[in-house]
């Protein structure tokens, strides 16, 4: 590579480099192998009678299934709302200077994160037999009213409370991490402008923390959708998985109904992912890679006149 070099490298023109791309045969082989395997699997699935595709199509839009999907969405949304409220409260408590508040929040997170959600759901189902009545009044003195727990702690309520409180412990940690990720200078600048704690938190810290909070919280939301399939532990039977299994039990055909339930879970997850994408976009204002272009830091005079943006060839 000695004599030829000089001729090629002298006086490079303005044209863009059009080099011969490096051949990458490994990529083509890997892609071909995987495509063949996938095709084989799809062919097998379509022709294997064990999947019972006619039953699948028959029950995919069954009214009981659609109804159960709706119940699953309700469980998910209500449980995540509880998780968010409880999570914000315990994150704020954890970050507080008050040792009692932060201690109690730590205890809550320790217990609810440290025991299986299935066990917690069984526990919430049994709560009506542990506490039969709830008394409202001043402890040891006056009693205004007494409510039997069974009257309001329905299986649905026990399921959402159980799911929500379990998730709240995880959400608290996500929020704490998000709040801690915001630079201290932000809080300082806000306080120096005379803004109160709530203004600083609500207008400066939280919007920035959201950027860090939303991706894991979106994951947890999708995770919750699937965790609702455990509510039979309460026992609550209205959810998508339990309903599909009940139909399957009558038909003696578990496989197509598993596929039906999976299809619905997947469809709902897809919708949630789209929502997450837009939320992430909303809260990445001012920091997104696309927006973070540095304008005007290069003054026109010190930019070489020839370099950028010639005719767009």
């Amino acid at each position: 590579m000695s004599q030829g070099d000089k001729d090629v490298l002298t006086e490079p023109g303005d044209e863009r480099i059009s080099a011969v791309p490096l051949p990458r045969p490994g990529r083509w082989v890997a892609a071909a192998v995987i495509l063949v395997l996938l095709a084989l699997f799809l062919y097998g699935a379509a022709t294997n009678s064990a999947y019972q595709w006619t039953t699948y199509w028959q029950y995919l839009f069954d009214q009981r299934i659609a109804q159960a999907a709706l119940v699953t969405i309700e469980l998910t949304v209500i449980a995540m709302t509880i998780a968010l409220v409880v999570g914000v409260a315990s994150a704020v408590m954890r970050l507080s200077d008050n040792p009692v508040l932060s201690g109690v929040a730590w205890l809550y997170i320790w217990i609810f994160r440290g025991t299986p959600v299935y066990v917690q759901l069984v526990f919430w189902g049994l709560l009506t037999s542990i506490y039969q009545e709830v008394d409202l009044g001043i402890p040891f003195m006056v009693q205004f009213t007494s409510l039997s727990t069974e009257s309001w702690l329905t299986p649905f309520a026990a399921a959402v409370i159980g799911l929500g409180l379990n998730q709240g412990a995880y959400t608290a940690e996500i929020i704490r991490a998000g709040v801690s990720s915001v630079d201290d200078g932000q809080r300082e600048a806000s306080v120096a402008l005379g803004m109160s704690w709530s203004q600083t938190t609500g207008r400066i810290v939280f919007p920035q923390a959201m950027r860090v909070i939303i991706p894991p919280f979106g994951n947890e939301f999708i995770g919750m959708l699937k965790t609702t399939s455990l509510v039979i532990a309460v026992p609550f039977t209205g959810d998508l998985y339990t309903q599909s299994q009940q139909i399957a039990a009558v038909l003696y055909r578990p496989i197509p109904l598993l596929l039906v339930a999976s299809t619905w879970y997947l469809a709902i997850t897809t919708v949630l992912m789209v929502g997450q994408h837009y939320l992430e976009k909303r809260f990445s204002r001012g920091v997104a890679g696309g927006a973070a272009r540095v304008k005007d830091s290069v003054t026109p005079t010190d930019a070489p006149a020839e370099l950028p943006l010639r005719d767009g060839r």
């Binding site: 932000q186 300082e188 600048a189 402008l193 005379g194 803004m195 207008r203 304008k295 005007d296």
Partner: protein, 268 residues
Amino acid sequence: MSSQHTVEQTRPDQVRQPMVRAQNVRKSFGSVEVLKGISLEVQPSEVMCLVGPSGSGKSTFLRCINHLEAVNGGRLYVDGTLVGYEERGGRLHELHPRHAAAQRRDIGMVFQRFNLFPHMTALGNIVEAPIRVRKESKRSAVANGRELLERVGLAAHELSYPAQLSGGQQQRVAIARALAMRPKLMLFDEPTSALDPELVGEVLDVMRSLAETGMTMIVVTHEMGFAREVGDHLVFIDDGVVVEAGDPRSVLADPQHERTKSFLSKVL
């Protein structure tokens, strides 16, 4: 001891009270005493430059003035009002956060690292506090904000986010943000230390023109040229005490103390 050094008053017509009066101010972090009795006065419309080696306590002192740090000893007054505490029945009471916030409202602060709010545009940064804290109408806050952006030479950038601006531009927005609260005192904590050398000038220009409007300013800085040119007073702080103070031109040209001499020989 050297804590007794005070800045002499240059004006004979001492009718107005000083904008800032520090009497034997002390501050410790844990067992480390950072300020060991700082006493000085800043008159209205004066520009005071605080210089000294890093770790000398000058930034801490600045942060005490708007109560970002609570002083442990001595007294600190801004415009005649005790900072951070309230004297009742012969005792000092900690100030309610609401009242501390009210004190800070009138004191603008500019940080070394700008600390602009990254999720807001330049104009959004400026109008946030006037609208939320001073309860200005959105319209008047925006009008005033645009005027300030023009004053710092960034009228074309009101919709830019901080990440889209150069360091010098960000710091100028930060100055405009502080001015939007119509402060009576401006604190600058090494405002040009995080900037590329070619961007320092544009920030100093804004500060110089601000000084010309009669704003009272306390500037922690390593820019001796600025201190000489714009400063009315120069205070050299080392190891938590005021070592030397006086007219910037004479202190810089003819420092009296060994420590001042050795520091200036390194930075000039």
